[in-house]
Symmetry: C2
Subunit: 323 residues, 2 copies
DNA sequence: ATGAAAGCGCTAACAC
DNA sequence: GTGTTAGCGCTTTCAT
């Protein structure tokens, strides 16, 4: 900036004014400055700017895994909102590890992000307290923060969606409905299990429940165990996209079994039968979380918002198979 | 840092030493400083550090769209390498728009990223010249930079993979093989078309070629046009994952037609017939590009590297259907 | 309409 | 083993 000022024969401050589009510079002077900028290939040093102003115009996003389609969709939506607000997005994947989540958050905070959007892996967020007090805004998506922290949160109607799935299968004549969900420590998995259990009422049977990270072998083992029961399941409810895919793969080649999955996935309609799913909208969730965050950054105070997004069942065939 | 120094009864520089793990601080002093840090909830201001040191420990990644599984996989791999080097990742999606690509790159450069990994949308990268001269390192992935710019580049064997696909179909008795590819302006689409044409030789027929962004309606129209020809295609070669999915959707419910697609996708093995594809590895590409970049950041000079990653055909049924 | 000076929080260079 | 000083490039405040 000093070099530009020298080259244009003006003071540093005038260059600053031009670069920032501040008023009060003579058009001719401004033109001279702009020429010098082009000639020297100058571009403003954002670090210095941030240091001086205190605001970074950067948002941090912590998700589980960008390579998971659900979070990829959420990321893209967040990115769009962030860009629309002339900010930049730092993002990282926690891989479902609380330690990694905290590391990412702390790194982002050290970079003085203005706000954070977190899909938590852990359930203790007291470590965020100092940051919140320092003015960093935080919004949670997909899963709520751990106890003792109040912050804007956007969740899907997990229990309600699970209830819809179960009732749909009940209506199609099933009484033995298995639940194949992710690890019970994951909020969404627990909520969907709750919705499943509540909808089943007296039909609930713990032997028809398996909850752990979906892997081909364990999924196959769980299904074999359940099908070997006296009264085996006639229908399956899978707890998220990865579980659904794992189950479909484990069942491939066998006689089709009634199935409803939580989360839509590409090609669900092209399989035979088409896969009936409870659909949630990751982009919507991302957009809402980001908008919530920017509202706070704009100075909105008031109690934390808790938004629940509706989900809906899309029937494609697999959920309508008879027992 | 000043406050911490006061609280610990030491000089600023000593705090700096402790924070940065520099040697030459008495363990007892260091402990006192750490206690003060915890008590005050201090965390180093990275902007100031960057301003002073000149290095940001940040890498910028420009891709087409995080929500596309191919780029999501690439992103995740890049992220892992970046983290392993104690750096952070800024990322953005260009949405196949050259203007947006340039905007993102310039924003990243204003933030003084140490290096950039770019999946280019445009074909003119002369705008990068000043940045390169300023010392920013750049690596290209999936597509090469525009003419006149020499930089490390990682590409898949697009033409070779297309050749494999076509020869596979020829070996299964097909002589009329259509190509359904993305817009010809996209490097990978053009290369795959070239490989297709070369492998077909005298059998090449321009009426069996359609190249444009895959959309349900246009895909259906293209297929209808081709199937209405005197000598309609008996097999299809689709130019990328999105084209394959669009074609499968357009053909759903009809008699299965022989098909080989470029790019693998989730569930390709669960469709009936399984979808034969030419597989490339997005994570590998991301990892190689990132490693190349960090090698440059470590000071490696020497001529730009051009790496071509192999692809391989995975037969699953659809590519083995007879004419 | 333009400029001079102070200082954001840190690290590098050099004392002691 | 510890402290002092200068200055990274910018914005803010206040003068002119």
């Amino acid at each position: 900036m000093k070099d530009v000022a020298t080259a244009a024969g003006v003071a540093l401050k005038t260059v600053s004014r031009v670069v920032n589009g501040e008023p009060g510079v003579h058009p001719a002077t401004a033109e001279r400055v702009r020429a010098a900028i082009d000639r020297l290939g100058y571009s403003r040093n954002e670090s210095a700017r941030v240091l001086r102003r205190g605001r970074t115009a950067t948002i941090g996003l912590v998700i589980e895994d960008v390579a998971d389609p659900f979070y990829a969709g959420l990321s893209r939506a967040v990115e769009e909102v962030v860009i629309a607000h002339d900010c930049l997005l730092l993002s990282g994947s926690s891989g479902e590890e609380p330690g990694r989540e905290r590391e990412l958050v702390e790194t982002f905070c050290a970079r003085r992000v203005d706000g954070l959007i977190i899909v938590p892996a852990g359930d203790d967020h007291t470590y965020l307290r100092p940051e919140l007090e320092a003015g960093t805004k935080v919004a949670f998506a997909d899963r709520p923060p751990g106890a003792g922290l109040a912050a804007d949160t956007v969740l899907a109607d997990n229990a309600g969606g699970a209830g819809q799935a179960v009732r749909h299968l009940l209506e199609h004549g099933h009484h033995r409905i298995a639940f194949l969900g992710d690890a019970p420590g994951i909020f969404t998995a627990a909520e969907r299990h709750r919705g499943y259990r509540d909808a089943l009422g007296g039909l609930y049977d713990a032997r028809l429940v398996a909850m752990r990270p979906p892997a081909p072998e364990t999924m196959r083992a769980d299904l074999e165990r359940m099908f070997a029961l006296d009264r085996p399941p006639t229908a399956l409810f899978t707890g998220n996209g990865r579980c659904t895919v794992a189950a479909l793969r484990a069942l491939a080649g066998q006689r089709p079994v009634a199935l409803v999955g939580f989360d839509d996935f590409e090609l669900a309609d092209l399989l035979r039968p088409g896969v009936t799913v409870v659909v949630q909208d990751p982009a919507w969730m991302g957009r809402v979380a980001a908008e919530l965050l920017f509202r706070r950054l704009r100075g909105d105070v008031g109690p934390p918002e808790h938004i629940q997004l509706p989900v809906r069942l899309v029937a494609r065939g697999s959920g309508e198979l008879p027992p």
